[in-house]
């Protein structure tokens, strides 16, 4: 499902954030990428999402080359195939919870009615249904991350990318989100989970990969 081949990405200053990294994730797998802060984990996810481009090497998702895609093509790639969850949730504060979840569907141009039904079901399933009309600022961290997950799942993407999804949560909320990731994997989603939290990795990953100084250690 996801193939990184000898990928290198260096920012202007300093050593490469990713150095000749290769990674293969099969459909339905849940892979945890472990590594200390600054080891290149976010860079790896951004490359898969087409938010960033490698300096060399290839990135393939669902049989499609993502490196070298135009910005427009990459945007469409994300709409259809990628759901993203971030450490800091990145919900839009000026929209309600439901409207946040509806965003990807609106970008895809889905009919409003069908999208609203799906958003409601997703929020209900994730246990935050009753917050549909509130603004994210009113919610706790764990609740916000559930909303973010709902948003990521809105367009039924085959791939879910999560960047430290528990990094901003207390341990109880973190455990909830860990359970959620596990359920999603059980539902057949392909997941790449980035974390430096060993417990989270063990709880919901079928395989772990270590990154250090931009190199994949296996």
């Amino acid at each position: 499902m996801i193939e990184l081949n000898h990928v290198t990405r260096a920012y202007d200053a300093g050593p490469p954030a990713l150095n000749n990294a290769s990674l293969s994730v099969a459909a339905g797998e849940s892979v945890a990428v472990l590594g200390p802060s600054g080891s290149g984990k976010s860079t790896l996810l951004n490359l898969i999402a087409g938010l960033d481009r490698p300096d060399s090497g290839t990135v393939t998702v669902d049989g499609v080359r993502v490196d070298g895609m135009s910005e427009t093509a990459a945007a469409k790639h994300r709409r259809a195939r990628i759901g993203m969850v971030f450490q800091f949730f990145h919900l839009l504060d000026d929209l309600t919870v439901t409207e946040n979840v509806l965003l990807p569907a609106r970008l895809l141009g889905l009919s409003r009615k069908a999208a609203e039904e799906r958003a409601k079901r997703l929020l209900d399933d994730l246990g935050v249904g009753r917050f549909g009309d509130t603004h994210p600022a009113r919610l706790s961290g764990g609740q916000r991350q559930r909303v973010a997950v709902a948003r990521a799942l809105m367009n039924r993407p085959p791939v879910l990318l999560a960047d430290e999804p528990t990094g901003a949560l207390d341990s109880a909320a973190g455990a909830e989100v860990a359970g959620l990731m596990k359920d999603l994997h059980a539902d057949g989603h392909t997941i790449v989970l980035v974390t430096h939290d060993l417990a989270l990795a063990e709880a919901c990953a079928t395989r772990t990969v270590r990154l250090a100084d931009g190199e994949v250690l296996g």
Partner: protein, 700 residues
């Protein structure tokens, strides 16, 4: 790139404001200086009177010179043109209205004259010659009279031979303003010229420039101030964290504010220096034009103007920046250091929610809600667009008005035909064509030297435009230009006497030639025969085939109108640029504020084009509303300034030049607001679209 934009915007705004201030200031300084200086230096005549047996002293007269013999002759150029000349018999210099020889020598013998010229005009072209009463005159030089008391000078003996007893007296008055009283005290005179008329004529050119330069100057200052204030306010709101840190380490509020003021002053200083250079360079041709109009030696740019502007503008920038940055001083440190809170404004949120629910594409609805989240910034952008649209509207209206004025002043048709010897024969040969004939001579009408034009044929073709009343039609009717009517106290319906013929004035015509001292009537009524014919819808060759001396008419004058249009166009471009920069700045600030939101959208699959559309949509309301406010404002400015320019030039303007905003022009200028807004937004929008999402989404 976004980091440098505020400084560039401030520098450009300051540059434009400085250029405008230097140009307008120099014209202002020149408008009340040189003529009076030159008048004093040459001991100009307050009153120059033509007549016979004029008294040497009278109540109100402080000193007098003369009598000088004064000949009113009609000179014929070699090409056959007739030129009225007032030739006075004087020596060089003189106690009153001292004559200065500009080049050549003073006439020493019969048949020699010096021509009156303005400094810098130079001698007439070589080979240029006149005959007067069949005798060829030799032009031996040019001379300058500050009060323009004659068009040429000859030896007293020569002038006396032509003068038929007519003399000229020059008076200095004890009260220079009491010209009319002094004139009355002299008893009956043939003609009198007041120095006040010369002064008015000298000030006419700046009278034209000042109203619209001031309009552009004020627009420029307001716009620049607005943009500078907005840039600084934006820097403050974008620098909350920085302000907090500065205060936390011990900066006082005043020091923080001073820092922002300094950050505005540095680029403003760069703009002021460049604007000072450009303004002074641009002032040179303007002042030359003004100097010619003042009948004085053209002066260079006035350094104190530049100095004053160079001090004043940074002061304005400092005050505006201080006002805009004051918030930084008041900001509580704890608030500044607290993580950015959710956009708390209910208004913005409601708008965002409404937009989110709207059936519009998300990219567009995302943008449309923005102005509500930051009403202050949106208002500043709106104002910038409105001022830009107002400038465009005003300039377009001005250009159209000037075009109408040019049309009203151009009386030549396609072909010009000379008819000195046999006017009736020429008219007969032209019978199959549309034409009119005319002759202009200088006469004394109601005691004033006046250009009198007699017209024959289809006089409507001559294209004169009325400012009041109607064109002459019945025998005994005439029209006159506004300055003539004002100077002679004649009203429409009143009469004037030209060479013994009484004519009824039926209309005020727009005519600025000969300082508007103009009367026009049917040639027959004036006892004249045309010396020129103008033919429409023909070529010179066709007319020459009739056995006539014909040439294609060239472009008539219009230099000042060209200059006015060029200045207006330059100012408009500059103002639109500042307005556009105001938009750029507002959008840059907005995009920076929204970097994370835009990043989220991109992560969810928003394409670059949708991002650009969203940012542009956020500016669309300002563009439309800006046009809605700016176009009427520009029209109002036009309504106010164009007649003021006319009255500065001493004339009313034809109606066609005042009512210029038809549907076509309105539609054209209405586009200006949206265009400024969209162009200003496009650059930061594509920057927003191109920014690395990964960077925008990195953690706090």
């Amino acid at each position: 790139m976004s980091r440098r934009i505020p400084a560039i915007v401030i520098a450009l705004s300051a540059l434009i404001a400085m250029t405008a201030a230097v140009l307008a200031g120099n014209l202002l300084a020149v408008s009340d200086g040189p003529f009076e200086d030159a008048f004093a230096a040459h001991n100009g005549a307050h009153l120059a009177v033509t007549g016979t047996n004029l008294p040497a002293s009278a109540p109100g007269v402080a000193a007098s010179a003369g009598p000088y013999p004064l000949a009113m002759v009609t000179a014929r150029s070699r090409e056959g043109f007739e030129i009225p000349l007032a030739i006075a018999g004087r020596e060089e210099g003189g106690g009153i209205d001292a004559l200065t020889l500009l080049d050549g020598r003073w006439p020493a013998a019969d048949g020699e004259i010096v021509m009156s010229a303005l400094p810098g005009e130079g001698p007439p072209p070589p080979g240029f010659a006149f005959t007067v009463e069949g005798r060829e005159l030799t032009i031996v030089g040019t001379a300058y009279s500050v009060t323009g008391t004659a068009s040429a000078w000859a030896t007293p003996a020569q002038a006396a031979a032509w003068a038929k007893g007519r003399t000229q007296m020059l008076y200095r008055l004890s009260d220079p303003e009491a010209v009319d009283a002094a004139k009355a005290a002299l008893g009956p005179v043939e003609a009198a010229a007041s120095w006040l008329d010369v002064k008015t004529a000298a000030e006419r050119d700046t009278g034209v420039y000042l109203p619209f330069l001031s309009a552009f100057g004020v627009l420029g200052l307001v716009l620049s101030g607005l943009v500078v204030g907005n840039v600084v306010a934006g820097a403050v709101s974008g620098g909350r964290r920085r302000i907090g840190v500065l205060k936390a380490v011990g900066f006082t509020p005043a020091q923080v504010v001073r820092g922002y003021v300094a950050r505005a002053l540095v680029p403003a200083a760069v703009g002021v220096v460049l604007g000072g250079v450009i303004g002074n360079l641009g002032a040179v041709p303007l002042l030359e034009a003004a100097g010619e109009a003042y009948r004085t030696v053209p002066s260079g740019p006035n350094p104190p103007v530049t100095v004053a502007a160079a001090i004043g503008l940074p002061l304005i920038v400092a005050v505006v920046a201080w006002a805009a940055a004051a918030r930084a001083g008041r900001l509580r440190t704890v608030d500044a250091l607290a993580p950015a809170r959710a956009t708390g404004r209910a208004r913005g949120r409601r708008a965002a929610a409404l937009a989110a629910r709207s059936p519009l594409p998300r990219s567009v609805s995302l943008g449309l809600a923005r102005p509500f989240a930051r009403p202050g910034r949106a208002a500043a952008v709106l104002l910038a667009v409105a001022l830009g649209a107002a400038a465009v509207t005003f300039a377009a209206g001005l250009a159209t008005s000037l075009g109408e004025v040019a049309a009203a002043r151009s009386h030549g048709l396609d072909v010009t035909v000379e008819a000195h010897d046999d006017p009736a024969g020429v008219a007969a040969k032209l019978a199959g064509h549309r034409f009119y004939g005319s002759r202009t001579t200088e006469r004394i009408v109601s005691g004033r030297n006046t250009d009198v034009t007699g017209l024959t044929g289809d006089t409507a073709l001559a294209g004169y435009r009325m400012t009041e009343g109607r064109w002459f039609s019945a025998p005994g009717e005439a029209v006159a230009a506004g300055p003539f009517l004002a100077a002679t106290g004649t009203a429409i319906g009143g009469t004037v006497t030209v060479e013994g013929t009484t004519l009824t004035i039926v209309g005020e015509v727009f005519d600025t030639r000969f300082d508007g001292m103009r009367v026009l009537a049917a040639a027959g009524d004036l006892g004249m025969e045309p010396d020129m014919f103008y033919v429409a819808g023909a070529t010179a060759d066709e007319i020459a085939a009739l056995g006539l001396v014909a040439e294609d008419s060239g472009d008539g004058g219009g230099q000042m109108i060209g200059a006015l249009n060029a200045i207006a166009a330059a100012f408009t471009v500059l103002l639109v640029a500042v307005a556009g920069l105001g938009v750029v700045n507002g959008v840059v600030l907005d995009v920076r504020d929204r970097a994370r939101d835009l990043g989220v959208h991109k992560a969810l699959g928003m394409t670059p084009r949708q991002t650009v559309a969203g940012v542009v949509a956020s500016i669309a309301p300002a563009g439309l509303l800006g046009a809605l406010l700016g176009v009427p404002a520009g029209m109002a400015l036009h309504t106010y300034v164009v007649p003021a320019m006319g009255s500065g030039a001493g004339t009313k303007l034809p109606v066609a030049a005042l009512e210029v905003f038809g549907p076509g022009l309105l539609a054209a200028v209405a586009v200006a607001g949206p265009v400024i807004a969209v162009l200003g937004a496009l650059c930061p929008a594509s920057w927003a679209a191109g920014v690395r999402t990964a960077t925008a989404l990195r953690g706090e």
